[in-house]
């Protein structure tokens, strides 16, 4: 007998595969991945938006229209899948859909997506160095999703497949601060 979690995973896989299929058709696979991450970040940051889109007292069509308005300019396929999730009250699966979408992309294209966060923009030499290092580890081509975050101060943060390596100056300073605070 399937549990709610199994059913939710099945639904998430269907959403992710549908989205990938639509993105491949329009050749916007990576753009959709970035936009999906952005939508997820917006949901986490904007409480009001989340409350409105999850508000059961509003009509599904109204909530869908609000989502399309909030994410205007995003890929049509992504907006379509979001609309279906709103109508089916499955918006809570968005994080899982995002994760599965990346896996589906990686499987479909035979690549591994690594998210790279730095305080300054990467140059081509650094990109090649990262790709070279992790291509050997994964045995696959590496695609980079680059992000800038001045709060890192310096260094680099890498994450892929749920694993994260924090080699930033900010984290090193934090460790130093903790060590100094706890020293007796």
């Amino acid at each position: 007998m399937p549990t709610d979690r199994v059913q939710a995973r099945k639904a998430s896989v269907i959403y992710a595969k549908t989205l990938l299929q639509a993105a491949r058709t329009s050749d916007t696979v990576f753009e959709v991945a970035d936009q999906l991450t952005e939508v997820l970040a917006s949901f986490r940051a904007a409480v009001q938006l989340r409350e409105v889109l999850f508000d059961a007292s509003l009509d599904a069509a109204q909530r869908r229209a609000l989502a399309e308005e909030a994410f205007a300019g995003f890929d049509v396929a992504l907006l379509g899948v979001l609309g279906v999730m709103i109508e089916r009250e499955d918006l809570g699966l968005l994080a899982k859909v995002s994760e599965l979408y990346e896996r589906e992309v990686e499987d479909a294209l035979g690549i591994v997506i690594i998210e790279v966060t730095t305080a300054v923009a990467l140059d081509e030499g650094l990109r090649e160095a990262i790709r070279a290092k992790y291509a050997a580890q994964f045995g696959a081509k590496i695609a980079l999703r680059e992000r800038l975050d001045a709060a890192l101060i310096g260094g680099i943060v890498l994450s892929a497949h749920g694993k994260r390596i924090d080699a930033s100056i900010a984290s090193q300073l934090e460790r130093t601060r903790v060590t100094l605070s706890n020293r007796r």
Binding site: I130, S159, A167, E174, R177
Partner: protein
């Protein structure tokens, strides 16, 4: 130890007997002597020198012989009557009175003995009460001393405990203050260091740092 005493009842009885004998002897002597004195007066009255005083002086007081005999007879009769009826009644009354006094004295003696016995008993009870009171006072003093010692010990222990707690609290506060100071210093130092690094690093230096960290970074492949 009590001295043996002569009973007052016996002394009074002896005195009463002696009095009675003396009284009887005196009355008899007066009656026997009275006729002699009367006859002597008669002989003196016969003398010529005293003839002139016959009708006056002592002659007026001395009865004539013819009067004296009936008087004597009358007196004897009176004495016999009194001796027969008056004297026994008088002596009976005296004896009764003596017996009453003797009883009273005996009762007084008994009462005195009883009171002496009671006095002795009271003295003994008083002594016992005094001893008991002294014992109670001693016990109370001992209990008070014990209580004082207990209170003193308890107060000392409480004071020591409070002192220990206060010392502990001070130590904890001191450690907390030091920890807070360390934390503040660490926060400030790190913030300054971060700002300095962020400001001072050029893009080239940033990339050099990234390169170095990348070389040191571990594997991302969890499988």
């Amino acid at each position: 130890m009590r001295k043996p005493t002569t009973s007052p009842v016996r002394t009074w009885g002896a005195s009463l007997g002696a009095l009675r004998a003396a009284l009887s002897a005196a009355v008899l002597a007066v009656f026997l002597a009275t006729p002699v004195l009367a006859f002597a007066s008669e002989e003196l009255a016969a003398e010529p020198i005293a003839a002139a005083d016959e009708a006056s002086g002592i002659g007026l007081l001395i009865p004539k012989l013819g009067e004296w005999i009936p008087m004597l007879l009358g007196f004897i009769i009176l004495w016999i009557v009194l001796a027969k009826f008056g004297w026994p009644a008088f002596m009976g009354m005296i004896d009764k009175r003596a017996a009453t006094i003797r009883d009273s004295l005996e009762k007084a003696e008994l009462a005195k003995l009883e009171s002496e016995r009671l006095l002795a008993e009271q003295k003994a009870e008083l002594e016992e009460a005094r001893h008991l009171a002294a014992q109670i006072v001693a016990d109370a003093k001992a209990a008070a001393e014990q209580t004082r010692a207990q209170i003193t010990t308890q107060a000392r222990e409480e004071a020591q405990a409070m002192l220990a707690k206060a010392s502990e609290a001070i130590e904890i506060e001191k450690k907390a203050a030091i920890a807070q100071l360390q934390s503040s210093v660490a926060d400030l130092s790190v913030a300054i260091a971060g700002r300095v690094i962020g400001t001072e690093l050029s893009e080239t230096q940033h990339r050099a740092v990234i390169e170095r960290y990348l070389a040191e970074a571990g594997s991302l492949n969890a499988n």
